[in-house]
Each structure stands twice: as C-alpha cells, then as structure tokens.
C-alpha cells in the first residue's frame, strides 16, 4: 500500500464489489459422504458390467459415470456454489463437445444407409507403396 499517489486516494471504487462474503467451505462430513457414494457407484459400475444388457451396456455405464462426474463437479469442485459465469464457462464445454459427438457419430451411423461406405471405400491396392519407402523429393 506504499507510495500512494494523490489520485489513488479519491479513486472511485466502482468495480464490482459484490460477493465479498466468505467463500463456501464445505463440511468434512459432506466430502466424506460424497466419497463413499462415489466408491459405491464405482462398485455398481463394476457389478453391472458383469451382466450383459446388450446395446444398453454402454449407456448404463455412461449414465453412472455421469452421476459420478456430476458429484465431483458440483461438490468436490464447488461448482454448485460458484458464480453463474463459472458454471456457464465450464458446462459449455460439454454442450459443444456433444456437438462434436453428435455430428461425427451421426455421420458414421448413417453412412451405410445410403451405401456411401461401399462406394467410397476403395479396395486394398496390393501394389501400394508406403511413401516413406519412396525416395525423398529433392
């Protein structure tokens, strides 16, 4: 705080001064409960994987993982008590990630429906040479 110039003393403190309150401190008991729930959910994941639900396997595992992730994000990472902009900033990543998944997987899933796979995938060329075995261009 040393060497304050005169202009600093009557400086307007207009920046956002809200949220000056104490940061959220979660109780040890809550953390412990969450840990136990997470471990139980891990056990459930392992147990359900021993049974075959067919195509639902992946979905079930991902749902349990999503629940676990939600607990970690909201409690361990304190996002539940964080500012709205921090929530938006982080959760946006999942939204945009889902776009990557959506279009990429939708492309893959519908490729065979119009025979595009068969049309565009060339047969293996036995004469093909790996370019690394070719001479370097001068």
């Amino acid at each position: 705080m040393s060497s304050h110039d005169s202009h600093d003393t009557h400086k307007a403190h207009g920046h956002d001064q809200q949220n000056h309150g104490p940061h959220h401190v979660t109780s040890s008991a809550t953390f412990l409960k969450i840990l136990i729930v997470l471990l139980i959910l891990t056990a459930i994941t392992v147990i359900t994987s021993r049974f075959d639900f067919g195509s639902a396997n992946l979905l079930i595992a991902m749902l349990i993982a999503a629940v676990k992730a939600t607990l970690v994000i909201s409690i361990f990472m304190h996002l539940r008590w964080d500012t709205p902009i921090n929530k938006i900033a982080f959760l946006c990543s999942f939204l945009f990630l889902s776009l990557l998944f959506l279009f990429t997987l939708a492309d893959q899933a519908t490729r065979s429906m119009d025979g595009a796979n068969e049309r565009t995938r060339a047969p293996v060329d036995k004469e093909w040479q790996h370019p690394s075995t070719l001479e370097k261009p001068q």
Binding site: A61, V72, M77, A89, L105, A109
Partner: protein, 241 residues
Amino acid sequence: MSHDHGIVVPAPGAGFLPHTVAHHFDSPTQEFQSAKLGFWLFLATEILLFGGLFAAYFFFHQVYPETFRLGGQQLSWKLGALNTTVLLISSWTMAMGVRSAQTSQKRKLLIYCGLTLLGAAIFMVVKIIEYKAKFDHGFLPVFGGTDYDQATHQLSWFKDYHNVMVGVQNPSLFFSIYFTMTAIHGVHVLVGAGLIIWIMVGAAKGRFHANYFLPVDLVGLYWHLVDLIWIFLFPLLYLVP
C-alpha cells in the same frame, strides 16, 4: 515507478504470509474471480481436448464393437478398479486439502496434499504394472518398432504373442486408443503431481490461508479434472467392451 503496488491481504496469524494483490486489480475479490473464471475456461479446453479422444473412441466402438469387446477383456478390470478407487480417494484428500487452506490449517493442508501425492504415485505405479503386462503381450505401440510392414501388411508394434486378439477386425486399434487416452491422462496426473508439490512448498512457507488460497483452489480443480476424466475412461476401456 510511482504506481501503487496493490492491496495487501493480511495473514490470519503467525506462520502465515500476507498476499499482495496484483497491481491491475482493484480488490482481492476481483483477482480471485478473474483467476477462477480463467481457470474454469482452461478446464473447459481440457474437456474438449480429451473430447476428441472420446469421440474417436465412440466412433470406432461403433465400427468395430467386437474388437473393443475382446480388447477390453485383455485389460485387468481389477487394476482399473483399484486405480479408480485410488483416484477417487485422492480427489477427496485434495478437496479436504482445499478445505484446510480455506480454514487456515497449515499442517492439515500439508498432510492432505501429501496424501494426494501418494495417490498419484500409486496410480502411476499401477499404470506401469498394466503397461508392463501389455508390453509382454506385444501390445505397446512405443516398443517393438513403429513401422508398417509392407510385405505382410502388418504393424510391427502389434505382436499379440499370445494370440488373444484373433478373429476380430483391426485389433491394434483398441490398444492404440487405450494407450493414447491413458498416456495423455497419465501426463495430466504427472503435471497435477508437480503442481501439488509446488502447493506444498508454498504451504510450508505459509503462503496459503483463509484470506488467500487461490492457487490451492485452482490446483484442486485441476486434480479433480484428472479424476473426472478417469471416471469416464475406466468403464469405457475396462468394463463396457
């Protein structure tokens, strides 16, 4: 220079150091919130970085389900579950560490950070044991030559000494994805461990306390992210296929 040196946040007691707010901030809150928002955004980029790998996983899982089923069976789900447990517990110790910093408990902060570090070490040791087993099977991309064999149209790194991956398409693909994902995750574990050591050094000096615990908070978030990614990796690689 005659510009002010920033506001000083006092230490809560003996054994702790005061914190000086960077000169371009008007208040400690502004500094805290700026860094926090920046770090959440960084974590968002991490999610999207790993997201590319997850997209590749789902893509090929859709194309070669049998390869993934058989490949997943070659991994030890027990070791995977052990590592999951270790990481979850270390995530809890980290959360408790942040809590200790928030409540100015220097000794507890050091202990919890040490425990988290121990978790990271156990995780990496188990990982090495797993990698060793894959190496013995001839599944590790880094060893055994990285060329594509012209004559046999075979990959030289993919040996499959025990012939466990017979009868499925492109068996190497599952292990490529497994190693790429776990290796990049492993790098994050190591970076996280380094950051926790840095926190411990600062904590020993008394830099972190109820009035200033920002770095502990951020490293904690990073460590939880490492855990978060593993929560998805474990079922996808070890269980589902």
